[in-house]
Symmetry: C2
Subunit: 340 residues, 2 copies
Amino acid sequence: MAAIGDVARLAGVSKATASRALTGNGYVAEETRRRVETAAAEIGYIASPDAASLVTGRTKNVGVVIPFVNRWFFGEVLEGIERALLTAGYDLTLYNLSDSGPDRARVFEFFLARKRVDAVIAVGVDLAEHEVAALDRREKPLVCLGGTGGTAARLSVDDRAVGQLATEHLLHLGHTRIAHLAGAGASERPDTVQGLRRHGFLDAMGAAGHDPSPADVVETEMTMPGGYRAALQLLGHPGPRPTAVFAASDELAFGALRAAERLGIAMPAELSVVGVDGHEYAEMFDLTTVEQYPGEQGRSAVGVVLRLLGEGAVADPLPDSGAPLPTRLVVRASTTAAPR
Amino acid sequence: MAAIGDVARLAGVSKATASRALTGNGYVAEETRRRVETAAAEIGYIASPDAASLVTGRTKNVGVVIPFVNRWFFGEVLEGIERALLTAGYDLTLYNLSDSGPDRARVFEFFLARKRVDAVIAVGVDLAEHEVAALDRREKPLVCLGGTGGTAARLSVDDRAVGQLATEHLLHLGHTRIAHLAGAGASERPDTVQGLRRHGFLDAMGAAGHDPSPADVVETEMTMPGGYRAALQLLGHPGPRPTAVFAASDELAFGALRAAERLGIAMPAELSVVGVDGHEYAEMFDLTTVEQYPGEQGRSAVGVVLRLLGEGAVADPLPDSGAPLPTRLVVRASTTAAPR
DNA sequence: TGCCCGACGGGAAACGGTTCCATATTCCAC
DNA sequence: GTGGAATATGGAACCGTTTCCCGTCGGGCA
């Protein structure tokens, strides 16, 4: 396998000059550079990243820790991150962190602590103090996308506002008894995504003078089957039921739609449903939703990381730091005026 | 940052011995090993993987190239791979290869060719000759999961048999006019997943003495909206229509279910639907499907890779090489006897 | 004319490990 | 008692880069 020495010899220069020519660091005469480049191309030389990072300390690799890859939101974020990193010439090392399993410690203490990654993007993970500290100690920049914990750079949607927005949409339509399908743990952990959306819901309801009964707020896994089961429980009893549902994610909302159909509830005449995410299927389901552009979020996170790494040539401007990420209510046929 | 020299000094041994003690290679007295280990723990020593791979040539990292992360099947495979690699102490570098874009060449020639990965797992990608050659030249083991191209180790479902199985299930139920929702490109590329499933469908139909009209086989993107649109086209016209649909994936099938509902077609009385995958939502939709355990497939691929890398301590046995991966027909309420 | 500074290039020292080779001791077999 | 494994350790080379330090060569400026 060709090494830089071979290139140097072929070009008739020293290893030092060859290195300078190829990396673009330091002074090299234009003609020399060309000679080196053709020599490199000729023997198909590719620099060993191991050797390079051994001395520079940079690996051109960022670690991404993410709790799911198969939930739409996360998959979309991951895709955005991947694409952005690739165009910047970075590799992406994936750590699929299943909630605080035994692996979790290993990831932080072993995998991320090794010099393998220049920085870490944590998406939707609630970081413990010591996890952040471990990264900090190794001086690895950390960018969080959603999630909680750590004082690091965090990009985040204003989830309380999202909950409020969705709920107000239903209130404006004249609904008064509105239920909420919340993510698991929403009430115990008020600082999480689920918690904040629930909070926004309660705020909006309170401001409108309503006080949702505890039975109308049900927590479940944020998946379509989760929403299905929860909605069956919410709607599948005799007696009066809510006329609208605010689901904390589109996948939950899809499940609710399916449950309503199963229960023979006319949609949207008897039940309005609003979700959150802007899921690629939302249009097909005619679902009103608060979009949040996860792919874009991923790209933004990469932008911040690159900036933190001092990568100069990054084009897109830093989003106003501190400002929440953009969201937008998209109204479709799943929500309509409350029945009288 | 602590280096192995520091550990050695603290333990009162040479770097060589320290290395042997920590890696477990070569002879080291039990007592010495303990001294080195405590010394390492004391100063929080972690070996630099860069330095190590520089000399050993192995990186403990495998590259995964995958065309989507947000299609259920692929996400599930990815998750399986990730978990298996992590437990084996390997990192996973993700390359989300969007069909033959301009990035594609970069991935193969630049990213994968660098010494960053020990091996490559390609899931569901149709490899070009020169792409395989590039990997081969670098002597990087390549394991394919599905997809086509390359002579490398390939794990694969027998997709023709899958198509046949699903179709025969419908035939046994007495259906005679059966439509097929195929993946895009099924007719042009008979060797791909879509092509093989279509082939299996046609074989089964032919064997039963039926000759599906071209209008009853429609190709579309393998997503739920894709299935929705295609099914609308297939079923949404006046006049007699198929009494059953074999969808090439569960996501397509979900879309078809949704379309049928939209069209007011009674399910399953007027229309039976069968899919492929064993999607996590299949149960909720009462969908009959040919399951194929993608997570397990990912794990198997890792098993093969580790074996190829000479990783001795791999527990699970190599699946009979050559034998197709397991599948299973799961019958649910979406399929029923043909109406008279 | 003399000096300094910028451009350019080479030698050699890192970077942080692993492994080859040599040496030493122990132990067992013949 | 000698030979030869087997065990245990240290010294030094080596992996393939980047970068520091230094020398040379011109050219502009005082």
